[in-house]
């Protein structure tokens, strides 16, 4: 089966395989996975993907979900069509 077609982050097109590969390389910190793959940084702000990523980390490392910190939620928490606030509150680091 083609793991590369299992999409975890719809907003930024990140697959299960890409995340598992990072974990296999020893990168298990969710913030670091976020920086490297841009999961959670799309217009939905990770609402779809972060829970899935946490489950992958839990499954592969044996950690409990409770032990995995949730990445920060930033303003705006919803996609903003007009580019409003783009300067004042940019959430891309």
């Amino acid at each position: 089966m083609s793991e590369k077609d299992i999409i975890i982050c719809r907003c930024n097109d990140v697959t299960q395989k890409e995340i598992e590969d990072l974990i296999d390389q020893g990168i298990t910190d969710i913030e670091e996975i976020k920086r490297l793959t841009r999961i959670g940084m799309g217009p939905c702000q990770g609402r779809t993907c972060i829970p899935l990523v946490m489950r992958i980390i839990a499954r592969k490392t044996g950690k409990k979900i409770e032990e995995i910190p949730v990445p920060a939620t930033r303003v705006p928490t919803r996609p903003v069509p007009m580019g409003v606030l783009a300067g004042a509150m940019n959430n891309e680091e």
């Binding site: 719809r10 097109d13 609402r47 928490t77 069509p81 580019g83 409003v84």
Partner: protein
Amino acid sequence: MRLNEHPILNFQKRRGKKIKIYFEGQPLDAYEGETIAMALHAAGIRVLSYSGEKHRPRGLFCAIGKCSSCLVKVNGIPNVRSCITLVEDGMRIERQQGKEEIPKTVKPPQWKDAIKVEGDVVIIGGGPAGLMAAINAAKAGAKVVLIDENPMLGGQLVKQTHKFFGKREQFAGVRGVKIAEILIEQAEKNENIELYTETSAIGIFQENDRKLVVAIRKNKELVEFWGKAIVVATGAMEKMIPFENNDLPGIYGAGAIQTLMNTYGVKPADRVLIVGAGNVGLILAYQLLQAGVEVKAIIEAMPKVGGYFVHAAKVRRLGIPILTRHTILRAEGKEKVERAIVAQLDENWKPIPGTEKVFDVDVIALAVGLRPSIELLHQAGCQIAYIRELSGHVVRRDARMETTIKGIFVAGDAAGIEEATTAMLEGKIAGISAALYSGKSNISWLKEIEKTQKELTEFRSGPFGKHVLEGIKKVMVGEINE
């Protein structure tokens, strides 16, 4: 395709004026009062955008504004959530290609132009929890402002065509849609409640003893809602699961399918496979049949059906097979779902080779659970915890629904996944508590809070409630009210 005949709902009466919209230059019929995604779906359009990196087709998923899977360009402006944006005559809609910039000619609204609205209590979310919070905060003496990002108030209730279970005399046996109508009418009639629909809260801030909710109205206006207390009743979001091609257009959350057929009268599909045999999956199967859709099967990974026996028995009687210990392996189709491949699971939850079955369906419904929508509370700085019994991360709060930030309250599915009755009771408690916090109410209202807390405890005394109570114990700060 649109639904014209339905045993419970009358869409011909509900639809507004017929208008024209343009999709990729092609004219299409639409009706006033429906959202862009609904009109496009009715015209057979499933692909709403292509993703940025891998150029994969994408369509609807949640249909309530939460997943951002339905972004389109409207009159040249990208990032418009088509599922909650109403059609307008002459609107030009195009598929979005990944991330797109706003045209140079368009001037985004400025902070200094933001409209300012003042109240004692600002409520985010107009589902059963938010509406009850508004009605009761207003009764208790507060000036209330309620905002909701959907064009219609009522939250998840507006799509529940079935009669409600539960033992509360007031609403048991009443259809969800009807409960929504009753609450909306009460809120609309109350002079102390101001209602803003099509208004998305995007951030919560604090300035001295005042709180600010920043929102975007109708995709273009910046609005500042100021108040002393805030109630967050933002509901829940549907869960996604990993399987091959799980982003193919036509893989919809159960709630999205209900929105299509029960709220807007659009036939969601011809043939459906449902993933998940909890109450939501079972009820959905039944509602799909009412809308004239064929349900091929319901698959469930667990060894037994999760939903109530009565619902399962009804579904089986109607001839829909329920395959337990089965999972979905992949969706297939070119630009949209054409087939679903499922397989049986062994004791270790691994698919058993050779047990694959193919279902020719055009929609796959995911009824695999909901998760509390806590993003605003998290952004505001409220403490959160992962509580399995409440279906995900939730905020810590006390028996009056106050979070770890004074003056910010939570209610309904956002506080933990339960059901409409508990959402309404929690909403009432949060609303009165917020009114008290704002200083506009008097302590005689504490009695009403206590009474409602008792009702909640009573309601949760059943087997399902026990599980929830375990979870609530874990999130509670301060004294536990039982």
